[in-house]
Subunit: 484 residues, 2 copies
């Protein structure tokens, strides 16, 4: 594939656009979209690379590169970043113009800051307005699909059996580890910003409750204590965390959407969420078999890709229809799905390469980093110039830390409770997804959003070193049954 | 995962939306997009299923279901289909409104048919305007990404070595099989619609030249004559076809974009295309190694997905920048890419599941069917009510058939030339991609587009039975070296 003699052609290639028939004029309307989306992915990869170098989780690298990019380029006044930063609000603005409103009025209505509103109008009406909106729309859609695939794969990894085996101490730690930060977070937010709506208070609480112990697991294995009781409790708790988190999200978002805060409404939402999960758990397999029976004559990987994609998207859409978050449907789809349903194709797939997980992983791998970079882009560091926001952020970080440390004490005696508490510290994917949903529902404003992302970053950054320090105080090295 | 006792809950679930906190009000802006895109994919799967049942290629099923859907629902006045059918033109209309033009004027400018223009304005300004545009935009972007992945995988399958081994008869058949339909197509189009621009004439010719012998290969193996000389020539010709087709596309689209038809311009474009291919062939491996060196610390499948995605998108964008079609860049990326570059990760991937092909296949599998359904949706059967269009379509089909039959006679003596010619008949993916690019460049109007898609459908449908008939006249059963 190499061609040494062509060496002299390279300089020519650089000048090719000059010779180019189109004079370098883009003819494929997808070209700017390809450039924009790929640029975002490249930044994500750079962030991920740096994170791995510093033994941090990828998500952290993607977040921080997004934050850096967003705030640096914003100061330099880059239109592209500005558009990406405002995201959906822009489309709502365009929507207003469809109903006959002038773009200036629409912008004024969507963007309180008049300078920003003027700038937005200038950009949209500028020569590249449509291109920038197309890129922003594509990145937004890609990131939403990414979150759905992410939660599907989380569900695919979880199983009811696992939860049964995980054991009581883990469940206790998970519950306390969610409720305490929830309570502390709500109180802090209420003290600092009493004018906040109940909905936003609840959302802040839910976001503080989420955990993602990926990095803890890495530290535990690095130190060779994965099979200690402490590790079992932490990793067991992680099994419950996502489910508890999603239940909290279902209730909180339900309350926000319905605008009702009476016990009745809460009960109703809880019932609805349970009903949804139970019913899809029951009906899911039948739906799956129905879909699969449509796939006769297709090859194994085709069939698995189509069935999985349609099933995940169907449940996500249905969850949204009944007033739950799409990711709850995606998670449920993951719980139900497994490769056994496709037994009829076993012949096609001798190597066992075409597992549902392997087939969905590429979609997740490309789309999820875009989500986290977009999250980072939306963090507005300038909002920390406001003393209140600063106070709030500090309060939330403290609440997040104390809340999780307390959870360690639910683990029962004879264990290194501090280590367990610290192990539960890192937030991550799920917390960020909640925050972005809250932003979408309009209960998390950009200041709260920035504070929450900061909280996720800090709790994740500090935990490894703290955990190593705490584990020096020894662990209970009885072999861990639950992980056998 | 099953739960018999929950049976009574199912009826409740049906009424869940009524209880639903959101009262069924969608809260996730992605929900309608998910519904729309998934619906298109479901139709694609149904089409593919029917096609397989009738031993036809998948692409045909996806096309025809798209045509049926488009024309039926259009008659019923479905807004969703109407929006999908007009596709990009809508976004250009919106773009006009950004520059201050009223939507009514913008619609009048983009849609000659006043009734259609009025209907479009009504839809866009209606309650679901933004949602429908979001769905259309997403489907459009997905299908464009799909085509890029498709051409990348075609390139990945092709190799320079193969072409060297394919042999002279195959090259001759491929060349004649492209040039004759090209010449005939141009003449027919010129005779029927003399007012057509040179650009559109050339594009029609290029579209008639493309071949896709997938279905021929299946027939040949069904009849157990894959190792006959005739089969070798056909399958060998297929190796050249895509490359020849892309060169034709490069020249034709170059001419259209530059608007120049003098020999000089053509030479310049040809030089540019060659320069592009040669230079990326030379520089590609270095770029790849550079990208890969960024991926240290990532897992094998992560690294392969990121590198491949960024490389394919980079070359596609660059091809567009220098005035070539994005798919030419994607194809070149496929020619260059191979798993050897990732040798450093071999340890991670014992089973050998994480090949570049396996990792990109899911992206292609989800996105490409959307492209073909969209192509079908854009076929306007009503345009065949016009006698000229009918005449044109008949002429093109005839030209397409005769042109390929002639190619058989380039195969040299002692062979079943008729069978070879018929084997080259089916058009398919590549021809459709050309047609859609021509539509995008504005040289293929919706009447021409409909005629070309009809031509693809007919040539593909008739070839298997014709081929079986022709093969009864015997084949030369000397063992085929080139396929050894």
């Amino acid at each position: 594939m190499r061609c040494k003699p062509c060496l002299p052609l390279i300089p020519l290639l650089v000048t090719a656009p000059v010779f180019a028939a189109g004079g370098g004029a883009h003819t494929d309307p997808a070209a700017p979209i390809i450039l924009g989306v790929t640029a975002i992915l490249i930044f994500a990869v750079v962030g991920r690379y740096l994170a791995r170098r510093l033994a941090q989780p990828s998500v952290l690298g993607e977040l921080i590169i997004g934050i850096a990019l967003g705030n640096l380029v914003y100061l330099l006044g880059g239109d592209f970043i500005l558009v990406m930063r405002e995201g959906r609000v822009l489309f709502d603005m365009i929507d207003l113009t469809f109903s006959g409103m002038s773009m200036r009025d629409a912008a004024a209505q969507m963007f309180p800051d008049p300078a920003l509103a003027a700038k937005i109008v200038e950009i949209v009406q500028g020569p590249h307005g449509m291109q920038l909106l197309s890129i922003a729309h594509t990145a937004d859609v890609f990131s939403r699909y990414g979150v759905i695939f992410l939660m599907f794969l989380v569900g695919l990894e979880s199983s009811v059996e696992e939860m049964r085996d995980a054991g009581m101490p883990s469940l206790k730690v998970a519950l306390v580890g969610m409720l305490t930060p929830f309570a502390l977070g709500v109180s802090v937010a209420w003290l600092v910003l009493p004018e906040n709506s109940v909905g936003s208070l609840l959302f802040i609480g839910a976001t503080l409750g989420a955990t993602s112990v990926g990095i803890t697991a890495r530290v535990l294995s690095e130190l060779g204590v994965v099979r200690s009781q402490e590790a079992c409790v932490i990793l067991g708790a992680a099994i419950f965390d996502d489910v508890l988190g999603l239940i909290a999200l279902a209730i909180v978002s339900g309350i926000v959407i319905s605008g009702a805060i009476q016990g009745v409404a809460v009960m109703q939402i809880l019932a609805l969420a349970t009903l949804f999960i139970v019913a899809v758990m029951y009906a899911g397999p039948y739906i799956l078999r129905g879909l699969i029976s449509m796939m006769r004559g297709l090859r194994a990987h085709e069939a698995k890709i189509f069935v999985t994609f349609i099933f995940v998207m169907g449940l996500s859409w249905f969850a949204d229809l009944v007033g739950l978050a799409t990711i709850i449907g995606a998670f449920a789809a993951g719980l139900i799905m497994n490769d056994q349903y496709f037994a009829q194709w076993q012949g096609d797939d001798i190597l066992g390469c075409d597992t549902v997980k392997n087939l969905m992983a590429p979609l997740e791998a490309v789309l999820v980093p875009i989500f986290f970079v977009l999250i980072g882009l939306q963090v507005k560091l300038e909002s920390f110039l406001d003393a209140d926001v600063w106070l709030l952020a500090t309060g939330l970080v403290t609440a997040a830390i104390i809340g999780k440390l307390v959870s360690g004490f639910a683990a029962g005696g004879g264990l290194n409770r501090l280590a367990i508490g610290i192990g539960m510290l890192p937030r991550g994917e799920v917390g960020l997804i909640f925050a972005s949903i809250g932003k979408g529902l309009g209960v998390i404003d950009s200041q709260l959003f920035s504070s929450i992302v900061l909280m996720v970053v800090i709790t994740t950054v500090i935990s490894p070193s703290l955990l190593k320090w705490a584990l020096r105080r020894g662990v209970t090295n009885t072999v861990c049954e639950t992980n056998d």
